[in-house]
Every structure is written in C-alpha cells, then in structure tokens.
C-alpha cells in the first residue's frame, strides 16, 4: 500500500507535535508529514503536493478551520482528501458545519487511542 501523506493544521506547535506523535504510534504507513499553522498555509500545501489525510483545528488565526474546509470543498482534490477536525469546539452550529463537510471530529483533549482509532477508520487502514 502507498504511504499516506498527512497535513497537520493547528496554530499550536505543541498540538501539532502531539498529533504527529500519535500518528507515528498508530501503525499507519506514513509518507510525508506536513505542518501548517493556519488555513492559508494549509491551502498552500494542499495546492502544491498530494495529501491523503488532513487534520484541522477550528480556532486558528488568519484563516480558521471552517473557512479552510469551505475552500477545500471547491478544490478538485476534495473528493480524494480525508479530513479530521481536531478541536475543543463545543458550539453546535460549528459542529453541524463540520458534519456538513463530511469531516470526522475528534474533541480535544483526546487520548492517543481515540485519535488513532478515528484515523484508522477514516483511512480504511487496519493497524
């Protein structure tokens, strides 16, 4: 199986590091792991290189996660991209918007096991 290229989008470098650590422990065959600290940086990566899985925070400066999901939905690669929103978000309207984009949702604080299970489910890869 081809390795998965992953983009981790969060304005917290610590949270990006925690997510990457969990991904590396998940048993997934990982390829490139890219980082972005906001939606604009994420789009620059997505438009430039092939990404299979993107993890997105909602509350970010410059461009937040919901706007990023809106922009991704307009891109030709949207159908092939699997998306997980990783956020503390507790607002029902925002969570409904996340679901409308077909993204999986993991609430912070998450256990490594929970994030791993969601990643495995959404990628269809068994550990």
């Amino acid at each position: 199986m081809m390795p998965l290229n992953v983009l981790v989008t969060d304005d917290s470098a610590v949270m990006r590091a925690m997510i990457v650590k969990t991904l590396r422990m998940s048993g997934l065959h990982l390829g490139e792991i890219a980082h972005a600290s906001n939606g604009v940086e994420a789009l620059e990566v997505l438009d430039a290189v092939w990404i299979d899985l993107v993890l997105v925070d909602i509350n970010m400066p410059v461009m937040d996660g919901l706007e990023l999901l809106t922009q991704i939905a307009r891109r030709p690669y949207a159908g092939a991209l699997r998306t997980i929103v990783v956020s503390t978000e507790g607002s029902d309207p925002r969570l409904a918007a996340v679901r409308a984009f077909g993204a999986a949702f993991v609430r912070k604080p998450f256990s490594p096991e929970l994030l791993r299970d969601v990643v495995l489910r959404i990628t269809g890869v068994a550990a």
Partner: protein
Amino acid sequence: MSACERHLTDVATRTLETLCFCYPMPLLSNAHRDAHVDAAMSVAFRGPISGRLVVRVCGGMLGAIASNMLGDADADTRMQRDALGEVANVMCGTVIPLIGGSNVAFVLGAPLPVVVLGHVKPHPVAEASFGLEQSGRVDVFLYLEAA
C-alpha cells in the same frame, strides 16, 4: 460547589489526565500548597459571555507536563510555555460552552503568559487546584467580565 466550579473541576481533571498524562489529586498536602510558581498562561474568550481562563503550574511540574505531552524529555523553555498555553486553550475551549451554552459560538484568543508569576487577579468566578505527585500543583482560575 457551584455549577461553574463543578464544570471547571471536571474539565481541568480530564484535560490533565488525557492531555498531560498526569493524575491530579483534589486534596492538597502542605507541600502542594507551599509549592513555588513555575509559570502561568491565560486564554481570553469572547461571546455571549467574555473573560479569561488562567492555568498556573507550581512545584517544578512544568517540565514534566511538557515532556509528557510532547514525548520529549528535553523540551526547551519556549516549548514548555507553549505546552502550558495549549493546556489553557483546551481547558478554556471545553469549559466555556458548558457554562455559556453550546448553541452559540465563542472566539478564543491565543494563549498569553501571565507576566507577574504568582499574582493572579483576585475574585475568579471559579477556581480549582490539584496536587501533582509529591509537591507539584496546578491551579485553574476562570474570570468573567461584567455584562
């Protein structure tokens, strides 16, 4: 204990356990109470209710918390501070909808250091303190602005 304090205590406990891999103790010993302050971070929020949440770590536990979160025993001072900021961010983002309602949206600011360590504003609407290991402590304070 008020509903606000119960939510804050529950969220802080869950965050310390799940995000920081710590085991917070609600009963404090004298060693916990006497612990010196390591660092404090604040996250402001705006919405139907506005205010800020402050997390303060004492007793030399900041490095241990950052190491647990990052899986890196050599996290430098900046990463330790950022780790504490993320703890504050997660606690704030989780507790505010429980207090202010989930049918509305809140905007959270970036975590900022509390410059004068040990001096947090008096009269929070809720606070919670936990012992960590033998002599560490985490304090969490929630402040609301007058409407």
